[in-house]
């Protein structure tokens, strides 16, 4: 074993050991899944919940992988997040957007666009289940687009940006024929084109927009959820329209260490190619 490999392995073990001791004081599914930007949420929207199952004085950590299969594109995302005390969450996600079909069509210089998303989310007040107030959280994301040549050619103004979102989540007990309903709603202040994969700001509009996003899910029991999501998106680039996103998802939380989300995502027009609707699959591990 080379020195480097053993060093890496050592670091991995050193970080994994304390995480394995993390308590899981919260109820199952209350950490949500990991959305495509790495923070706790559904698939395409954030929830106000903090990732993992940490309660007061506890640590939590999650890692996830997501694949979205669209007619002309694929999006692969992997990332991780740590949380403390059901209060604060730090997240990282790497997105790789495969555009090889567009590359052949237009002789583009790259076959993929990638982006890194660093996020912090803080629970301001409330709780998703207990007490009088819904859980309300504020999130800030720093996004960096790594292959800026194509975005710059179509009018994007910058390859990195900061955006924020404010979101509220609440479980309404027995609200749907006796089954619990989770409602999430929030606003985002962003100028990201296709969430940042096509850079930030554009020739048509270079200021941030206030964008609505939300989701509703019915829990058939604590482990199975069926829901819908919606995410409004800006339209900053004149070369192509940008659609709002929506999906229908099934979430499965077999235990507090593993969860799956399967969805049908309607992503509409992306970079001149319309009807980009397809399947979304995400797996999350909680440590």
């Amino acid at each position: 074993m080379s020195y480097r490999t053993s060093l890496l392995l050592g670091c991995a073990l050193a970080t994994a050991a304390p995480l394995a001791l993390a308590d899981n004081g919260r109820l199952i599914a209350t950490g949500g899944a990991s959305n495509i930007e790495g923070n706790a949420g559904g698939g395409i929207t954030p929830w106000a919940v903090i990732t993992g199952y940490s309660e007061q004085g506890e640590w939590g950590a999650t890692a996830f992988a997501t694949h979205i299969n669209l007619p002309d594109y694929n999006l692969d995302v992997a990332g991780m997040a740590v949380a403390y005390g059901n209060r604060v969450e730090l997240s990282y996600a790497h997105q790789r957007f495969d555009i090889s079909s567009l590359q052949h069509k237009l002789s583009l210089p790259d076959d993929n666009l990638s982006q890194d998303v660093f996020g912090v989310k803080v629970r301001l007040f409330g709780d998703v289940i207990y007490g009088d107030l819904p859980q309300v959280s504020l999130g800030i994301e720093y996004k960096h687009q790594n292959d800026f040549l194509i975005p710059s050619l179509v009018g994007a103004q910058r390859d990195a940006d900061v955006e924020g979102y404010l979101t509220a989540s609440r479980l309404f007990m027995g609200a749907a024929f006796g089954y619990n309903v989770l409602v999430n709603g929030g606003v985002r202040y962003s100028r990201a084109n296709e969430t940042g994969l096509l850079g930030f700001g554009g020739d048509r509009r270079d200021t941030r927009s206030l964008l609505k996003e939300g989701s509703v899910a019915v829990l058939f029991n604590p482990r199975w959820a069926l829901g819908v999501e919606y995410r409004e998106k800006p339209d900053n680039l004149s070369f192509a329209g940008e659609s709002d996103w929506a999906d229908v998802f099934v979430g499965y939380f077999p235990n507090k260490h593993l969860s799956f989300v399967l969805a049908y995502a309607r992503l509409g027009e992306i970079a001149t190619l319309d009807n980009q609707n397809g399947t979304y699959l995400s797996v999350q591990g909680n440590f």
Partner: protein, 140 residues
């Protein structure tokens, strides 16, 4: 006109004197007192195996706790019972229970109701009745 107003007054008086019909459907759906007792006993057995919180019950008289919990669940479910135990704040005083302790108990309760094949909507109704007590239980 006068007769009508007398009739109305009478109707109102009778209406006030009668107790509003008590909704005991949750009590029935939980299997009445016997069903509630099976749920409570199942929960206590789960707690006994739950290393997260079993220590919290080390000094508790379990038989009395069972009886008081059955009474309390029965009252909360709209059943014909009277709760004779201490207030929630009183009975948890000095224990400094954490939100995690509370959730662990909720999980043990849900497992007990699952074992009794209580339908999820019925489980949700009982939990919704008990969840508001959390503020009087934790951090005391």
């Amino acid at each position: 006109m006068k007769r009508l107003s007398i009739c109305l007054t009478l109707a109102l008086l009778v209406g006030c004197a009668q107790q509003p019909a008590k909704d005991d459907s949750l009590y029935q759906d939980l299997g009445q007192r016997a069903g509630i007792q099976r749920i409570v006993e199942g929960m206590l057995l789960n707690i006994a195996k739950d290393e997260r919180i079993v220590e919290r019950f080390r000094k508790v008289n379990i038989v009395r706790l069972r009886d008081k919990l059955v009474e309390q669940f029965c009252v909360e479910a709209g059943g014909p019972c009277r709760y004779t135990g201490d207030s929630m704040a009183e009975s948890h005083k000095g224990q400094n229970l954490t939100p995690s302790d509370f959730n662990a108990l909720v999980e043990d309760l849900i497992d007990a109701m699952d074992a009794e094949k209580i339908p999820v909507p019925v489980q949700n109704r009982l939990i919704a009745r008990l969840a508001p007590m959390r503020g009087e239980v934790i951090g005391k």
